[in-house]
Symmetry: C2
Subunit: 454 residues, 2 copies
């Protein structure tokens, strides 16, 4: 619905309406501003964002995807970037810094205030995918000996810059986690009660080196707003909040979906992954699966021994499987991108996807075709079958990849769940088309349809 504001924004940009841009940032919800700004180029987005206050800039910035954040960072001067980093939530800024060029980070850090700098260095030191790498250090904590009334006063001071004040962690003088209170419990308590009287003492916490997926599942299972993170001496070092847990669970589900379709999981969204990266993530599996298909061809040769005419049969499963595998990959990638709304179909993204698949599949089909040329030559000891098989593989991979990407987009535009364009369905469609391509390529090479004498 907010897409209606996009034309207004474009108008402001073309008229260089500075006042309008400022209002665009300040008057809308930060999430809404972010949602619209991501539709224009990073340069244009930065022209708008540079008009607004630092506090609002940070709020909007944190809603952007990482790749978009990185593009924006490249447009900022060091001074502005260091202010931004100071103000960002500790977990979000570490996510960003981890993805920037380390030299660039080192050049900015001296400009960042001491306290933030120490915090950044600490969070950056935790291994990727650990609780430590996703936690924030902005939690509300109190000592156990104060009263409920005093607690409210102290929370009032902590409130502005804590990620949540609804979960309050009780710590001793060495920061050991000894108790836990919800804001609900605090409100229900009498003002003169001591926190030690009302706090819960058995606390579910996670270790700082725990795997992030386990942490996210715990938060989800218990329905927590946040879970405390402790070091190996039970000192409180941070919290992981529910919204980060949801992101992690979604990322893990998407990774599983990509693995299930034989794609090495992407780090970014489909559209922001460079083509070379994407071709590696897909190619490694296509080659592995091609190996299995060559085995099938070899088994078929064994059974067909003495009937050398039948190379067409030998390589039939191979050409069909190559297409099925490539089609499964592109279908799964596009379907998960559609499900997470990484792109809106209006912005010409559909066409961009088809172009990407065309380019990618030519590259992948070409190399897989080359290897199958070698395999076919070796197994049949003749060049013509190798030409037919490899050309067919190329054509089938291109056809399957484009169809695998286009069909989910087409059914999605009719408001049908794109996931109905399942891996087996794409493979089935590729089978029919693949056979037709295979025999016609053979016809072109041999001048007649099979069977042929070699």
């Amino acid at each position: 619905m907010y897409q209606l504001l996009l034309p207004d924004l474009r108008l402001m940009l073309s008229e260089n309406d500075e006042q309008g841009m400022k209002e665009f940032c300040e008057a809308l919800f930060p999430a809404v501003s972010a949602e619209i700004l991501i539709e224009v180029s990073p340069e244009e987005a930065w022209r708008v964002l540079s008009k607004c206050s630092l506090a609002r800039l940070v709020e909007i910035f944190e809603y952007f995807t990482l790749p978009f954040q990185i593009e924006l960072v490249d447009l900022m001067d060091r001074e502005c970037l260091s202010r931004l980093i100071e103000e960002m939530a500790p977990d979000d800024r570490v996510d960003l810094l981890e993805r920037l060029d380390p030299n660039h980070v080192e050049s900015i850090l001296p400009l960042v205030a001491q306290a933030e700098r120490t915090d950044i260095r600490k969070l950056l030191s935790y291994p990727e995918d650990s609780a430590g790498s996703i936690m924030t250090t902005e939690y509300a904590s109190l000592p156990k000996d104060i009263t409920v009334k005093e607690a409210f006063e102290r929370l009032r001071l902590q409130a502005p810059d804590r990620e949540t004040i609804y979960y309050i962690y009780i710590i001793d003088e060495h920061r050991h986690l000894i108790g836990f209170l919800t804001m609900r419990k605090l409100i229900l308590a009498r003002p003169d009660q001591k926190l030690s009287e009302i706090m819960a003492r058995d606390i579910i916490s996670v270790r700082v080196d725990e795997d992030q997926e386990k942490v996210a599942r715990d938060i989800d299972k218990y329905g927590f707003l946040a879970i405390p993170v402790v070091d190996n001496t039970n000192r409180l070092v941070g919290i992981v909040t529910h919204d980060d847990a949801t992101d992690i669970l979604e990322d893990e589900a998407e990774e599983d979906q990509q693995r299930l379709a034989a794609v090495e999981p992407l780090e970014d969204s489909y559209l922001s992954t460079p083509l070379l990266t994407l071709s590696k993530k897909r190619g490694v599996w296509l080659f592995f699966l091609l190996g299995a298909s060559v085995l099938t061809a070899w088994v078929l040769q064994y059974f067909e021994a003495g009937d050398t005419n039948n190379w067409v049969i030998m390589f039939l499963p191979l050409v069909l499987a190559s297409g099925g595998n490539a089609g499964s990959q592109s279908a799964a990638l596009v379907i998960s991108a559609l499900a997470r709304e990484h792109f809106s179909l209006k912005g010409g993204s559909a066409l961009k996807i088809i172009y990407r698949e065309l380019f990618l599949s030519t590259l992948l089909g070409g190399t897989v075709g080359l290897v199958s040329f070698g395999a076919a030559w070796l197994l049949t000891d003749a060049i013509e079958p190798a030409i037919v098989v490899s050309s067919t593989v190329l054509l089938v991979v291109v056809m399957a990849s484009v169809a695998g990407a286009a069909l989910p987009i087409i059914v999605h535009s009719f408001h049908v769940d794109p996931a109905y364009m399942s891996t087996p369905l794409i493979a089935a469609l590729v089978d029919v088309a693949g056979v037709i391509i295979y025999f016609n390529v053979a016809f072109l090479v041999y001048g007649s349809y099979p069977p042929f004498a070699i």
Copy 2:
């Protein structure tokens, strides 16, 4: 880690240690008690739960999966069930009641207190998958004319039975949603300020008939704890909370994963879905895909015209695809079950899965085989090819289903992500094994390997 308590629980049950069972419910976190109780039979779980207080029973009960809840409900008397329903959160109890036999529900409702009954009837009336069907009516709301101090007093009264008091909705005398406050803002405000001075007036809300996935995505996108649900005159009727949003997003991701593997989405977990339901959810797609394979066979027949010996080739893609499809289905189901930890591998679940797949695949392979018998007979006009093709389909479907289920379990037990056992990989393995099965079945029928004269 809590699995360590399971032997203790079994001991208590065998010794009928009533005090121990009571403590088991009262001393542990409800989520932990639930996690362990789900490992024993519903009858045993109910023996334990019947010892504890109603309040604790409700807390533990809400952590169970729906199928387990339904089994427990069957063991309760009407009186106990009506008390339980009164105390449950509105959204959870509607989920449960929607799954119970409507006659059973009608017999319980008269025992439920009037206020709850009205609420239940209202929530039950919203269409499935709408915001109305997942919202809870236990939200915190306040009028706009009171002071911050008065607000705290009123919230103290509302706190015990509201799903969240951290988001406060400001309504006018007709319950129209006119403002919004966070507890954080309330704590930061001066006690004498009026709520109308500090409340936010532009509120992101969803309509009661909005699709639940859209609602969950909004909560996720904005990082909200809850989102208000309004009717078409902007009257506040409920809220949807972040934990329900996470559940919905996970369910949708799992549905997508199942659709992607050509399985109609299951409503329950893999292990609690009845075999007949599972066979329907898979069968419908297997038959549809078989149709596509018959088309491939027909296209091959067209190209091979005049060479009737080649029925083996004609049906090669069909037998391999049948196996690939069945294997993809079982692999995807087992992988998503493993990812969501619907079962622990220790409890003999792995064996149970293999038995289920054996039974299911025999049923599915038998019927798909029967249809391919007909198709092969029609296309070749001979009975022997039909026998070979249909027997091969049966064997390949059984082999692929069992392998598709077993391989993810095996790699998982070596702490490898089971999703590496991707759909294309299972299909590739099935291709190799399928060819061997196909030619050996043909050998059994014809007494020699193909090609044969019909």
